[in-house]
Amino acid sequence: MKKITLHIFLIIAGLLTLAPFIWMVSASLMNDGHASVYPPRFFPDEVTFIQFERLFSRLSVSRNLLNSLIVSFLVTFISLIFNSMAGYAFAKYRFAGRDKLFSLLLSSMIIPAQVTMLPLFLMLKSFGFINTYLAIIIPGMANIFGIFLIKQYAMSIPDSIIESARMDGASDFQIYWKIILPLCTPILVTLAIFTFMGTWNDFLWPLIALTDSSMYTLPVALANLMGEHTKDPELMMAGSVITIIPIIIVFLALQKYYIKGIMMGSVKE
């Protein structure tokens, strides 16, 4: 009896959580004005893709989608490389000032991102990078959270494996590329998801750093849309769907690594 109650409760909670998303997708498939009808309709009377057509043809959302994709992939890829190199170095190499440097980096995480945005903006402006992809990529090339995650994970790799590779004749880079990276796959995937999602959903920084609407990433473009088309909820819902769907796909595809990465922590072998 208890089990059935629990299941019913969970199903209801699940439906309540999903409801806004279902409504969002529904509304995006409705014709103009059908979303604000009274009594409210949960599912469209007739499915139409006209909202999406409008977004892509008239409002060049395709350009914004491309911006988001390029920037998110590049930042994820570049930051994975730099973070993993730094994390491995902090975990397995001994050098003067290592621990102090790491503590310093960790303590800088206290500083809120908003505080750094003005100096960062001025610096990038002096380089001429404002309103280019570089404005998003450069600040994202490495981050302390990523270095920390990888360092903690890499510490659990037994030293003897690295020594064995050294004796086998591997150079430092070869050890990094052929041994460390493959062994860090779970945490790298976890970090990739974090970074991709973070970059994709980032709103404030792209809003500041990008000035042309053609350079906007999707979150900024969506906000713009909302400002101009408050009377078109179906259009805005379509914009939201485009913004969210890629992230959901990435997450669902990689979630088994994500869970494993969180759980594995520093327990290995």
Binding site: P158, S160, I161, E163, R166, M167, D168, G169, A170, P182
Partner: protein, 367 residues
């Protein structure tokens, strides 16, 4: 030729911690040399310095008569088998063995040939496609061996490779490694804390303590002629019994235990050597094997003892009792069944006794 020579090699960590204190050692070509000693004696550090994984603080290291202090591990032409195997978890057995060869850009067909050859020797042919996590401990150790063999190194180094295996497997692998040594005819340096492994496998054994070499010799010489109480107590199992006492002049030489409960006359042939030690504190060493139920010769000393612990091993038994104020262990034939509390006569073969200087621990006289 693959000799290894250490000249006054030390490993000093900060704050004057000397893990290895100025050791000098020459390992001959094709020799199987064992470094043995308790935890923390410096044997692993020494091995790692030979491998190049630890830098040498002072002294010189020669491999094949070439100075190698500053040469990278990969250029020293040596291979190391680790205690925890150190296999690459994300690679198959084949890739694990082939890793070093691939790095050296050896031809693919040549790699195939060499890996197949090694896996035949070690009976790994059926396991080549498995990953380490699907292997048993013994199989993993063989893969680690294979990885070392396939590189055709001048010197093999082993860092307690059998410590993680269960007792039976350890005995099996011991003979396999010995056979491998005979087959390959390569210099091997082997580190262990287990004196049984050392005795059964080594051509020569280096007994280490606190970063220094206590004695280097063949197994039997170490057993028969230890230079101090440490070596005497380390080699041989169960270990040698020590009783503190004095040698007194009393119509010849007489040993008195400190508590004077154990007294016997030394055989005449010892008088010349031990005369000068009379009235000084000495330690008497009696191996468990020197006790017996019957008198072996005229020099046998008869003692009356009360058994405190009885351990039957089948073909032999260990009897524990008090003698001269110390708990003594003896090894006797297993045919007689004893009980705790039994009071019996035992004989000590005084031809087989050891005498040590109490102050320095050095051996005064041994047969």
């Amino acid at each position: 030729m693959a000799t290894v020579e250490l000249k006054n090699v030390s490993k000093i960590y900060s704050e004057n911690v000397k893990a290895v204190d100025s050791i000098s050692l020459k390992i001959e070509d094709k020799e199987f040399l064992v470094l043995v000693g308790p935890s923390g004696c410096g044997k692993s550090t020494t091995l790692r310095m030979i491998a190049g994984l630890e830098s040498i603080s002072t002294g010189e290291m020669f491999i094949d008569e070439k100075l190698v202090n500053d040469i990278q591990p990969k250029d020293r032409d040596i291979a190391l088998v680790f205690q925890n195997y150190a296999l690459y978890p994300h690679m198959t057995v084949f890739d694990n063995i082939a890793f070093g060869l691939k790095l050296r850009k050896i031809d693919k067909n040549e790699i195939q040939k060499r890996v197949k050859n090694v896996s035949d020797i070690l009976e790994l042919s059926d396991l080549l496609n498995r990953k380490p996590k699907a292997l048993s401990g013994g199989q993993r150790q063989r893969v680690a061996l294979g990885r070392a063999i396939v590189r055709n190194p001048k010197v093999f180094l082993f860092d307690e490779p059998l410590s993680n295996l269960d007792a039976k497997l350890r005995v099996q692998m011991r003979t396999e490694i010995s056979k491998l040594h005979q087959r390959l005819g390569v210099t091997m340096i082997y580190v262990t804390h287990d004196q049984t492994e050392a005795m059964t496998m080594g051509d020569r054994i280096v007994v280490m303590k606190d970063g220094t070499i206590q004695q280097v010799d063949t197994p039997l010489n170490l057993y028969r002629k230890p230079v101090n109480t440490f070596v005497a107590g380390f080699i041989g199992t169960p270990s040698m019994n020590f009783i503190e006492g004095k040698i007194l002049k009393n119509n010849g030489l007489e040993f008195n235990s400190l508590d004077e409960s154990f007294i016997f006359m030394l055989p005449e042939k010892y008088i010349e050597k031990l005369e000068n030690w009379s009235n000084r504190n000495i330690k008497l060493g009696i191996r468990p094997e020197s006790f017996s139920y019957e008198s072996k010769n005229d020099n046998s000393v008869k003692i009356k003892i009360k058994i405190s612990v009885f351990e039957p091993m089948g073909n032999e038994s260990f009897l524990y009792f008090n003698l001269g104020g110390k708990e003594i262990v003896s090894r006797v034939p297993g045919i007689i069944e004893q009980k705790v509390g039994n009071e019996i006569d035992l004989f000590i073969n005084s031809d087989n006794l050891y005498y040590f200087d109490e102050l320095t621990g050095n051996t005064i006289y041994v047969k």
